[in-house]
Symmetry: C2
Subunit: 336 residues, 2 copies
DNA sequence: CTGAAAGCGCTTACAG
DNA sequence: CTGAAAGCGCTTACAG
């Protein structure tokens, strides 16, 4: 038994008003007498009326949905961004459509192109936000969007995190503990953050006049496995470092495993630091010293700025940097 | 400069055909001469035409979007389900709308009710799938959906995981190693899985005629913190267990931390087992013995069944159970 | 404060 | 193989 869902016309008829009046009530427009409003609401409840979004979308050219474009779908990072974005979406009556995409996929442009009628705008996360042709598509089609990235692109609103400063701070912290040979594991080369974190590490060394030693730097991929492999290389080298700074937490977990395996005590014989303060970091043993990225705040801010843009409340350019913060836990200490 | 996006009418005019013919080409309908088809495609490319989803939705009463309803937005479980669902969505030209909800929120029904025009159907995850009023809403409104749950509800397609059997198997495995006092940490009480996993533990004990000891069972909440607290209770008790089986991996991580903290060696003095085989488990130290839940498969299957239902290809009821599998790693061994 | 008309860009059902 | 007409359920722009 399929019962037809009721429409604005049904409600108008039952309430004895025009459909325009029903529309006014449901869109919270002014200029409706309270008694009329009540009649409409009562009728709508009786009929269990729900506005048809498709019709509303077609007529108004608004979808009340925003899209989120990202790579690396299985990361804590993305999960947390979704969480923050969803909060702000809810507050504004929007829904969230998630759309992971591979940065190097040839179909990417077509793919996103087909989405444009489905959403009012996009939040674009790294490293997708750094794909030039994609940004051009968005620009040409005049699609509102907010970029989370370490690099600007024309006049799109842009939110970044102070990765370089945080990496510099972490390195300084390790130096202050007395470490001189600090291994560094670089992140995925496609991420702007990877370069910034490495740059922060180098800058801290420079400021203390410590020579940059290529042998202490390994190229990782932001995942546990690469962290493990890089750590083994560093730990089994002739003159092993007394501390390893990994560019994110999963890689730092790999460092912990490699060290445990070889029987190196942490932090007694090796200090280990990560980046991101993902849940992993608190739950590791020993708990990881890391950098707290304000991911939820980034996501909330990005979504909020997009809302402002959609509602015409955003004036001028938007370019904001959030600062990351050092979190000291038990995985770091003075070298023996 | 805002350029109007081209419509089906523009394409029809340029190609010299009717809009119905353009519609046919874009919906891959038969009965269009190849030369006509080519003309339409050429015109569409010139105009960069993209079908307006809202119009299509309104006319056809189809959205090509499915919604995912779930609680506990920050878990690896949900991330992995999204991943599997997204794959199948893509293959079928669908998009995915994610909608976390609190099982105990009073606005839940209204909330989901308002979504019904936005999606063609829902995938409903535990424990949301066990909320009676929600299931009734879905049923009354004739909204296609697939439930992932340990409990059936009327004729909705239903996918479950053999949690009980897997928990029984894990307990047996620990018994076979020689453990007799096995602590158990129960999961969140609102999840059907929690009860099933406990039941599996009890059944294994029964089959070996080992008395069930309430003092060995602690109530957790599926998170790291509760696992840690429960483990402390068990480890600091008069006669501590030689093994602890936690109902999921985050809680097992809490057990590891509690043990490390007190200086209990793993697996020498304590075996630890988890459940889910989340990424955590492989990355822990020592790597966790756990139960591999076929989460991606569950998600893919659920989405596929929903697709079948939407396309009228599903005949009869659907009720499928996937089996979980024991994964032995270094966190378990013989008791000393 | 309220309403009648036109139109958003498609698909459906039908005709030829 | 192709098309003209009607309609999906709303909103916009205008009138009173």
């Amino acid at each position: 038994m399929i019962t037809r869902r009721s429409t604005i016309t049904d409600v108008a008829r039952l309430a004895g008003v025009s459909i325009k009046t029903v529309s006014r009530v449901f869109n919270q427009e002014p200029n409706v007498r309270q008694s009329t409003r009540d009649k409409v609401i009562a009728a709508a409840e009786t009929l269990k009326y729900r506005p048809n979004q498709s019709a509303r979308q077609l007529a108004s050219n608004l979808t009340f949905v925003i899209g989120m474009l990202y790579d690396n779908p299985n990361s804590d990072y993305v999960t947390e961004v979704q969480y923050g974005a969803l909060q702000v979406c809810r507050e504004n009556g929007y829904d969230l459509l998630i759309h992971p995409c591979h940065a190097d996929s040839p179909g990417l442009i077509d793919d996103v192109s087909g989405l444009q009628h489905r959403v009012d705008g996009f939040i674009v996360l790294q490293p997708v936000s750094d794909i030039l042709p994609l940004n051009q598509l968005l620009l040409e089609n005049n699609i509102p969007c907010v970029r989370v990235s370490q690099r600007p692109f024309i006049q799109f609103p842009w939110i970044s995190v102070g990765d370089m400063a945080a990496a510099e701070q972490m390195t300084e912290y390790l130096l202050n503990l007395g470490h001189r040979r600090i291994g560094f594991i670089v992140g995925h080369p496609e991420h702007g953050s990877s370069h910034d974190r490495l740059a922060g590490y180098r800058r801290a060394l420079e400021r203390r006049d410590i020579a940059f030693d290529e042998d202490l730097v390994e190229q990782g991929m932001f995942d546990y496995e690469s962290g493990y492999t890089c750590a083994r290389n560093l730990l089994l080298s002739a003159e092993r470092p007394t501390a390893i700074f990994a560019s994110n937490d999963p890689m730092a977990m790999g460092v912990l495993s490699a060290a445990h395996e070889v029987g190196i005590e942490i932090p007694g014989q090796l200090s280990v630091a990560g980046f991101d303060d993902s849940p992993l970091a608190r739950h590791a043993w020993p708990p990881l010293t890391t950098v707290r990225q304000p991911i939820t705040e980034v996501a909330r801010l990005a979504t909020d700025v997009l809302m402002q843009k959609l509602q015409g409340r955003l004036k001028g350019d938007f370019d904001h940097r959030l600062e990351a913060e050092l979190v000291r836990r038990a995985s770091t200490g003075r070298p023996n």
